[in-house]
Amino acid sequence: MSERVPPPVPVPSAVALPYSEGLQRGEFCVQRCAACGTLRHYPRLLCRECFSDTVEWQAISGDGHIHSYTVAHYAYHPGFAEDLPYTLVTIELTVGLRALGRWLGDAVPQIGAPVRMVLVPGEPYPRLSFAPA
């Protein structure tokens, strides 16, 4: 038996650290421009609406619907071999942002179907996942 290889570990960038810290608390946190209020994800330095670099982090709802998906049948990293086949869903969140996560439903995802976010316990961070609403 060969030794099991762990999946790649997320390495939070400085600008995105509060996102990872939020996941550990069980929250999905995104950047909110402190100047104009625009939400943004993935994290970046400037607001593309007003170019402000002032940021507040805000926990948002993980509710949304399925925008697209894929089912992985081949492991490009040995750490995912035991998960095959696994499904990745792109979610249109009700707040107007998108998120990618693992699919927890039993059936094939249907584009447009409502979902809710589930943070599946994991180390060092919970795994962002979605289930039928």
Binding site: P7, P8, V9, P10, V11, P12, S13, A16, H41, Y42, H67, S68, Y69, T70, V71, A72, H73, Y74, Y76, H77, F80, D83, P85, Y86, L88, T90, L97, R98, A99, L100, G101, R102, I111, Y125, R127, L128
Partner: protein, 384 residues
Amino acid sequence: MSIADKACVTGIGETAYVRGSPKSAFELQLEAARRAAEDAGISPRDIDGVIPIGVVSGIAEDFIDNFGITDLRFSALIPHGGASPTMALQSATALVAAGICNHVLIAFGRNVSAAASKAGARIHQMPQFHYVTEFEYPLGNCAPAQIYAPMAMRHMQLYGTTVEHFGEVAVACREHALLNDNAIMKKPITLEDHRNSRLIAEPFRLLDCSLESDGGAAVIVSAAERAKDLRHRRVFISGVAVGHPDSPASITQRPDMTSLGLGKAAPRAFRMAGVTPADIQVAEIYDCFTYAVIRQLEDMGFCAKGEGGPFVADGKLRLGGALPTNTHGGLLSQAHIWGLNHIVELVRQLRGHGGRAQVPGAELGLVTGYGDLGDGAIAIMRRE
């Protein structure tokens, strides 16, 4: 000032395309570059601009050292993956049109046979993929097949694009590869073979995916006036343009994930060249995945959005069809040389040197590039 028809591709060079080359990426790049200069009929020393493709092989200093170039006037790196070679045509065209350079070398070499260099491992070193690496790789979104699959899945769901449509692209490329002695794939395939090939990342099957291959390719872009005295009939760059998709570093966050940068570039290139898609006689379209060809045909205006599947279904892309495409076999069946092999093939076709895959009387054609998460480029060329 328009740069239309101010530049010509005067030299083309390729190495053998293989799996498991004993040569380094730079050796392959240099070999292709030397052949391109020889093909143009210039001394490698006459090259006065260098745009090396990728950052894994030789850079300008290496070409100065190896070619004895005494007066290199320009070099730049273009970090947009498979769009970079065609993007480099835009830079080279502008450089020679402005009188900054006479002969610009665009050269690429790669050796990806080592496991550590496979796509799933490689891209996570690249800054263009930093969002994917930080937020999606840990979930299992590792390699282009997985990262691009949601675009194709959504296209299928919105527009009714089918497995057979993807298969037709794969079969057309394979048919053409069988006519090319420098193509890696040697066996014919059918639509049924495509459908029966194993799933990689739905909707992509193995035969929807391009090859991992080793080799080098290069072209020389020269000022149109200089090109008169060189070896071959002139092939002019009549229109060239670049475009980036919205949310270029994340497909997940892209407002319309079925849109690509090429949709912004193509109208500019056609306007510059003064032609329409209906005038194009041969196309070399970046085919990292079968889906990418279908989507780019829509972006270029060969058909309306969503109609790319039916457009290819009747064999239009095959030799003898209305739009012979990837006449060398493409990334799907010749080799994956980041599409620099597509530029080489277009020039070959327009010179009438297409061999068994020659499109009869081809005078006007185009080449596209597709890079990273959807960056696009297009060059429309015509022969003298």
